[in-house]
């Protein structure tokens, strides 16, 4: 099977009109396209950085409150300046974009504008027809480091998608020594809705602030829709991670259970050997029996829990509680958090593995619990 087409979609700065793009995203996904969604109210620089890091075939912008000629042209200029105009730029804005605007925008490097009244089916067709096929090699001068890394990740993903590479069976899998120089690798997992994405983003904010030169890589996962594409939406929530010192890559699970993609392990190896100070990997929301990160590539595994996991009996079934180095009870301002913390605490004590329990409220600004987690992860020799 050919690898799915990946596109990035976004809405420009100072524009919150996301109804059209949400509908288009859903339609793309239904037709086998993987959509990395950057969200609304986004800067041109953030779009270009994200498009390069995600190595998408095309970048789609939906603009509804004016200034589109300037904005699209700026995005095209930035892509060209980096030698990344192999990423095609398309978009629309209903009737706000006129025929005259379209002429100017295309002259400035925009590939395609969908005018008012274009059907969803026509957009899907266009993307399949024009943005499918193999990735084009970089043109001319040397591609920058982000571009090269992004392309290598694409090659790994595509090799698995094309069946050229298969995920080794558990038997054949060797336990790899974690030996990536100074790079620290953290694996975050936990059930859906526990707040992993927000927690990681808050952690990134602190790492960037505390270590003014640190570079961070994030490998985030979202589930593929059965028989279809995927909405990779973590970037939209991770506002602090849209930063020039962060390399982020969003991956679809492409049919694999357990919270990761078939290509994850190879991609993680690559990132871990690419000179970052920190590499953070996030699984999709996992079930009780999931046990990702078992091949020694990750220095610290963090299980993020929601206080609302149900009864104590449910707690006994969560395999990661035995395996995680750190267990975070997020949303600890909720009513049930006190009970949850003490139940989980007792469970960890029984394990006798000096696992650490941290309580956080990731969506609270300057939360002390997240500070504590950051301290734990950056301590020397942990």
């Amino acid at each position: 099977m050919a690898a799915p087409i990946r596109v990035l979609t976004a809405v420009p700065i100072c524009d919150g009109h996301d109804s059209a793009i949400n509908t288009i995203n859903l339609e793309f996904i239904r037709h086998g396209i993987e959509v990395v969604y950057l969200g609304y109210h986004r800067y041109a620089t953030d779009m270009v950085r994200a498009a390069i890091q995600e190595d998408v075939k095309a970048l789609g912008i939906s603009s509804y409150n004016g200034g589109h000629v300037e904005f699209f042209s700026e995005v095209a200029r930035l892509l060209r300046k980096q030698g990344a105009d192999y990423i095609k730029l398309f978009g629309g804005g209903g009737g706000t974009i006129t025929g005259n605007d379209d002429v100017i925008m295309r002259r400035n490097g925009v590939d395609k504008i969908f005018f008012a009244g274009t059907s969803l089916a026509d957009m899907v067709d266009y993307v399949h027809k024009h943005y499918g096929g193999p990735h084009k090699p970089f043109r001319g001068s040397k591609p920058n480091a982000d571009m090269q890394l992004a392309r290598k990740l694409t090659e790994i993903e595509d090799a698995y998608a094309n069946g050229k590479k298969k995920r080794p069976t558990p038997k054949g899998r060797k336990s790899k020594k974690s030996n990536h120089g100074q790079t620290r690798v953290f694996g975050f997992t936990g059930p859906g809705g526990a707040g992993k994405t927000t927690l990681i983003d808050e952690l990134v904010l602190r790492l960037l602030h505390r270590e003014p030169k640190a570079r961070i890589a994030i490998l985030s996962h979202d589930p593929s829709v059965v028989g279809a594409g995927a909405l990779l939406g973590d970037r939209a929530t991770m506002i602090n991670s849209q930063n020039e010192r962060v390399f982020m890559r969003s991956m679809a699970t492409r049919g694999q259970a357990g919270g990761l993609s078939p290509a994850t392990e190879d991609c993680l190896m690559l990132l871990a050997g690419s000179g970052f100070d920190y590499v953070i990997i996030e699984t999709v929301g996992t079930g009780q029996e999931a046990m990702p990160f078992q091949t020694g590539l990750v220095h610290k595994t963090i299980l993020v829990m929601n206080p609302d996991y149900g009864s104590r009996l449910q707690l006994q079934k969560i395999v990661m509680l035995d395996l995680a180095d750190i267990v975070v009870v997020n949303k600890s301002d909720q009513e049930r958090a006190r009970t949850a913390t003490s139940e989980i605490g007792r469970r960890l004590d029984q394990n006798k593995q000096s696992q650490i329990l941290v309580s956080t409220v990731a969506n609270r600004h300057r939360d002390a619990g997240v500070d504590e987690l950051c301290d734990l992860l950056t301590e020397q020799n942990v």
């Binding site: 700065i13 949400n22 339609e27 109210h41 800067y43 004016g66």
Partner: protein
């Protein structure tokens, strides 16, 4: 149970109560006779007006019923215009032209819902005075904003040339809506597009230049939510600079300031929800005390509808958001009769059949909830409504058809007794309206209200048809079901955190779009009768020239330079107040004298953080 759950119960109880009273009117002869007497009294005292043709018409139309049970069902179940539960209107008279000759009638003066009527109803009967033959404000209120403050000011003067009263409605550009200064990185192209640019209170002075801001014939509406408290502070400061501090209690108008709908649909919020709500409540607490004629929040379904919600979702989320604000304000210790009369609402009006009764049902649910759950007096039970015709329903293909779409929507809005109304311009799919089309939009309302006789002679002219009643019953049941769904999450805020409303709206939007192309929703000239494959129409685009954008940036630079030293101290003071947890609105009013919008937003975000978008 959150207050919303209690509202569901209150509406169910009230409906049962009405049924019981209907039965009682049929079995208890004395009670039945009282209701009939009241009914006859209202009819007898209804003044008679005269149409230009000489036709005599009662100024209030009532159903032709004479049986005690049906009379009771009408009086208690929907109420006369201006009476609980306000189904037929928050006020009486509304669109009627003044009586030409004074007549003695005064509907139901002695009625008071019947002496032995529903006891709790007693306090709802407004004091009824004979209608005054004065020119009232017309309900037309057109949204406008373009370029810089002086450009919008010119548009305001152009618009009010067609109206008796100055009812201005202000649209802001993207950077202002997001609390960003015009000199910020990457926003230059957005300055003055889709609305006007405001960076400092000085822009606000220019914006309303030539208008008497403290006059009883002037009111301003400002459509902004994320940074609303800062913009409100600038408005107050601009008014004080022009008319002195004594103008403040006289200021009339509204600011949208609705954080819930931003988080659910419109996405123009800049601080985390909790902090945004705190700043909002600070503002409401202050303005409801110091500016008794101001409406400090416009609880809006328009953007929920525009984002793709069904009409029922729109009304259900909006009204439930209203109850959530009431719950928050009451929890702050603000007396219900201080804040409830100052809450107002804003709904979308499109072409779906639900719009025949959407506002009627919303008024009824609001009134029952506010009276029976929150204990509000009559003024706090009234659902005061601004309506805008649907922008989403307008189509680029053969766009002149939009005049017809808007006209149909206007009919629906006025049939629903909206208190003010914006009619969209036909060129809206393309651009901020040009003068040509906004003039036609304003005329559309004038034709309906002034030229035609549909609304000016008789209240209830089109209310209560069997079809309308059928829609009402279906919509009320569906709205209550939505309330129950929200209640299952524990109320409005927890439902928001679970992205319940957002995902419902997104699903509805996707379905709507599919229905256009599968034929379920024919769109004329787009999917039906679309034989005219025309080119893009020639529409005059309203855009802000580069030189103007630069002028805004230069003005801001001068302001910042002039106030650099003072700004630092002012922001420090603001930070202290915000950290202390005290009401920060009075400080904001001082700070805007020396700080720009972006400076203030930036400092507040340092303290409370940024809004994290929900996908």
């Amino acid at each position: 149970m959150s207050k919303l759950g209690q509202v569901v119960e209150a509406v169910e109880n009230y409906n049962e109560f009405v049924l019981k009273e209907v039965k009682r009117a049929r079995t208890d002869e004395a009670f039945g006779q009282q209701m009939v007497d009241r009914w006859n009294d209202v009819k007898a005292k209804t003044p008679i007006g005269t149409a230009p043709t000489g036709l005599k018409l009662p100024r209030l139309a009532l159903p032709e019923i004479d049986e005690a049970g049906e009379i009771t069902r009408y009086l208690l179940g929907e109420g006369l215009p201006g009476e609980f539960p306000f189904t037929n209107g928050a006020y009486r008279e509304m669109y009627l032209e003044p009586l030409r000759e004074l007549e003695a009638g005064s509907y139901g003066k002695a009625g008071k819902n019947g002496k032995n009527g529903h006891a709790r109803n007693g306090r709802n009967s407004p004091k009824i005075a004979a209608p005054k033959a004065v020119e009232v404000e017309e309900p037309t209120r057109l949204f406008s904003g373009l370029g810089l403050a002086e450009d919008t000011n010119a548009r305001f003067h152009f618009l009010t040339g067609h109206q008796r009263s100055a009812r201005l409605s202000t649209a802001f550009d993207g950077p202002t809506l997001y609390g960003i200064d015009s000199d910020a990185e990457g926003v230059f192209g957005k300055i003055g597009e889709g609305g006007l640019a405001i960076d400092t209170y000085e822009d606000m002075v220019r914006l309303y230049d030539g208008f008497d801001m403290g006059s009883a014939a002037f009111s301003a509406s400002m459509t902004i939510s994320g940074p609303a408290p800062i913009i409100m502070a600038m408005y107050i400061t601009a008014a004080k600079k022009r008319f002195g501090p004594q103008v403040v209690p006289n200021l009339r108008g509204t600011i949208q300031a609705d954080i819930f709908k931003e988080v659910q649909a419109q996405n123009e919020t800049i601080f985390p929800t909790e902090a945004s709500l705190r700043f909002l409540c600070d503002m409401i607490e202050w303005t409801t005390r110091e500016m008794p004629r101001w409406y400090p929040v416009s609880i809006s379904g328009y953007h929920i509808g525009e984002a793709g919600a069904t009409p029922v979702q729109q009304a259900a989320y909006t009204v439930s958001n209203g109850f959530a604000y009431a719950e928050m304000l009451a929890a702050r210790g603000i007396p219900v009769d201080q804040f409830a009369p100052r809450l107002s609402f804003f709904l979308d009006c499109g072409l779906d059949v639900e719009y025949i009764a959407l506002a009627r049902v919303s008024r009824r649910i609001w009134a029952i909830g506010m009276r029976d759950v929150f204990g509000a007096g009559p003024k706090g039970q009234m659902f005061k409504l601004h309506t805008q015709t649907s922008g989403r329903s307008l189509v680029a293909a053969e766009f002149k058809n939009n005049l017809t779409r808007t006209a149909a929507e206007l009919m629906l809005a006025y049939m629903n007794g909206t208190n003010s109304c914006h009619s969209n311009s036909a060129d809206e799919p393309f651009t901020t309206p040009s003068e040509e089309w906004i003039r036609l939009a304003a005329h559309g309302q004038a034709i309906l209200l002034d030229e035609s006789g549909i609304f000016k002679h008789t209240m209830n002219m089109l209310s209560g048809s069997p079809g309308m009643k059928a829609v009402e019953r279906a919509v009320e049941a569906a709205m209550l079901e939505e309330f129950r769904q929200i209640e299952e999450f524990g109320g409005v805020l927890p439902a928001i955190e679970h992205r319940y409303q957002r995902s419902q709206i997104q699903n509805a939007a996707h379905r709507y779009e599919q229905q256009i192309y599968d034929g379920t929703r024919p769109i004329i000239a787009l999917t039906k009768y679309n034989d005219l494959k025309d080119e893009m129409p020639e529409v005059k685009m309203v855009r802000t020239p580069r030189a103007k954008k630069q002028l805004q940036v230069d003005r801001l630079a001068k302001f910042k330079k002039r106030n650099a030293e003072k700004a630092k101290h002012a922001l420090d003071k603001l930070a202290d107040v915000v950290e202390s947890g005290k009401n920060c609105f009075p400080t904001l009013i001082e700070v805007v004298e020396v700080c720009s919008l972006g400076q203030i937003t930036g400092r507040l975000q340092d303290i409370v953080g940024h809004f994290r978008p929900m996908v």
